[in-house]
């Protein structure tokens, strides 16, 4: 399945000859999907402990949290936007679950509230970034501050609480669902993956997503309503980010509004490493999944090599540059005429 949508100004694209010697999309996507495999081989060679059911499962649990958080980032990027409110949404869900559970709320009620709040965040993001062509970067940045501040005001800064036992089980590498030895977090991620890919590839909404990302004016003429697409995109993103936030409550360390902070750049990194163009109109969540797996394994590898968090950060930066140099380079302006 390849998306044959070109970006840029269609009037110019139609008039110009096909770009010379353009690297085929297929070649680069093979590289993207091979990189997790290659990374896994490297990981098992350097850190033999990974090659066990528990080892693989703990990798997948980590990947599933990042993977859920990155759904929104992927779609936002595909429509030519960006979502900086994902960390705040993660923190919101994380704090709501733990504090309300401690106050004796039933889990379904908590989930309902988190869903409503997520939809509100997503809708606000979508509406505001459709208004006057405002840049989603600033809109979602403001939204992030608003969400985090509201959560702190509502809880008076007491963000600690209790964690339902089944959430802890869901992220436990030795956990299982229906007797299958796979943690619930991973199942949730796989289910989300299936739905997201189905929507991207087999639904009208998926088509509109790519159309809006490629060329908003053309999309409007094709009767795509950008506001609607944006509201859905940011709402789905917020919902998935909230799911990640709920899962994060299962890890030890207590709840916090800032628990999502690392996910600001790590979600963008996963999207970028997956090779989804930040110009919008191309890419797919499947690529992000490859990016999620690569970055998760890369971090595990560096931890295994006893490299400290600072140098991990440096090496992640270098790795991004190397990968994008291989498959994500822009064309020269002369080739875009």
């Amino acid at each position: 399945m390849s998306t044959t949508i070109t970006h840029g100004d269609p009037s110019l694209a139609a008039a110009s000859p096909p770009p010379p010697k353009r690297r085929t999309a297929r070649a680069s996507s093979v590289l993207v999907y091979l990189s997790p495999v290659a990374m896994f081989v490297v990981l098992t060679l350097t850190t033999p402990g990974v090659l066990s059911t528990t080892g693989v499962m703990s990798l997948l649990v980590l990947a599933s949290v990042l993977g859920l958080a990155a759904v929104g980032q992927t779609w936002a990027v595909m429509i030519g936007g960006i979502d900086l409110s994902i960390p705040a949404t993660i923190g919101m869900a994380n704090v709501l679950v733990t504090t309300l559970y401690a106050e004796g709320w039933g889990f379904p009620r908590i989930v309902l509230l988190v869903v409503v709040v997520s939809l509100a965040i997503g809708t606000a993001n979508g509406l505001l970034s459709s208004l006057f062509g405002l840049h989603p970067l600033v809109v979602t940045l403001g939204m992030a501050s608003l969400v985090t501040g509201s959560v702190l005001v509502a809880t008076d800064g007491n963000t600690g609480g209790d964690v339902p036992g089944f959430i802890t089980d869901a992220v436990s590498p030795v956990g299982s669902v229906w007797g299958i030895g796979v943690p619930a977090a991973v199942i949730l991620w796989l289910a989300t993956l299936a739905v997201v890919l189905l929507v991207e590839r087999r639904t009208v909404f998926g088509r509109r997503l790519y159309a809006l990302g490629s060329n908003e004016r053309a999309a409007r003429l094709a009767l795509v309503r950008p506001v609607v697409v944006r509201v859905v995109v940011y709402s789905v993103g917020a919902l998935c980010a909230s799911a990640a936030g709920v899962l994060l409550a299962g890890f030890s360390g207590g709840a916090s509004v800032s628990i999502g902070d690392p996910y600001l750049f790590s979600t963008i990194t996963a999207v970028v490493v997956g090779g989804t163009s930040l110009l919008g109109g191309a890419g797919t969540y499947a690529r992000t999944v490859a990016g999620v797996l690569v970055t998760t394994m890369f971090t595990t590898l560096l931890v295994g090599l006893e490299i400290g968090p600072n140098m991990q950060q440096v090496m992640l930066g270098v790795a991004i540059l190397l990968l994008i140099t291989v498959y994500g380079r822009d064309r020269h302006v002369a080739q875009r005429l």
Partner: protein, 324 residues
Amino acid sequence: MSATVATPLLQTVARKVPYFVPALVAVAVMLLLTASESETFLSGGWKLVLVYASPLVLLAMAQAPVVLSGGGGLDLSVGPTAGLVSVVIAAVLIPRDLSVAWLVIVVALLTGAAAGAVNATLVTLVRIPPIIATLATYLVFAGLATQVLGAPTGFLPEWMSWFTSVDGVLPNVLYVILGVGLVWLLLTRTAYWRNLLMVGSNDRAAYTAGVNVTAVRFLAYLLTGVMAGVAGLVLTAVLGGADATVGPTYTLQAIAAVALGGLSLAGGRGGLFGAAVGAVLLFLIQNYLTLTEASSFELQMAYGVVLIVAIVANGAWDRKRKAR
């Protein structure tokens, strides 16, 4: 809809006045609010406010050239670059007794320039999209800075307190900001300025017209790096030491400031003055919220609301400007 209701006068005004005027008006309003809230503000308190605002002002100015250069131009690494500069000063130069003023200043500018050159190379020659390239250098610079300087230090040479002094008629840091502005003003008298705006609004047209798009953008990233270097120097002085974790926190604020200042994030419209005004506005908003003695939680909430309202108002004004 709103365009038809709008009085023609407002529209004419919107089209005639420079891009930074709405931000300037907002700054004036914030100044009045601040002055009414704080008695000491007019009698010298404003100098201190400006000193604390100066790192953000300089970083917003630093952000301007790359944003103007278009093509998704953005430098996420300005904050970490400033942080790296302050770490180089505090953890490399000072322990070796290399704290003479001229040397520290030269090293700060060169460090900034080097960071800018790395970004420039990645974006214009390797042709990695700006957000990705500068996100990667953000991680690298921030990681290196924390690696070199794990814990904050507070020992600075005597002369660096010049930056934070408010004894004169004007706070000294204002001279630094004006100095950067002056250099930029000279630059706008050259063909480079025209080329930068042209590349920013339509790089293909600029290329066809014979503008060396790569060189123009390369220089933009280099300028951004140098200005981030200046910001790093001032940041060190304002903090009274170096803390590797502070610099990175400025990046997103600097971008928000640029947008508030009326620059188009798509490139091609704006200038350094607007960026500086946007940064002052952003800082005054934060400062005012602090003055009202709201809790830090309410402050964060209000900040988000104000940022959104400001950016929406800016967008509405811009729409009016473009309306026919």
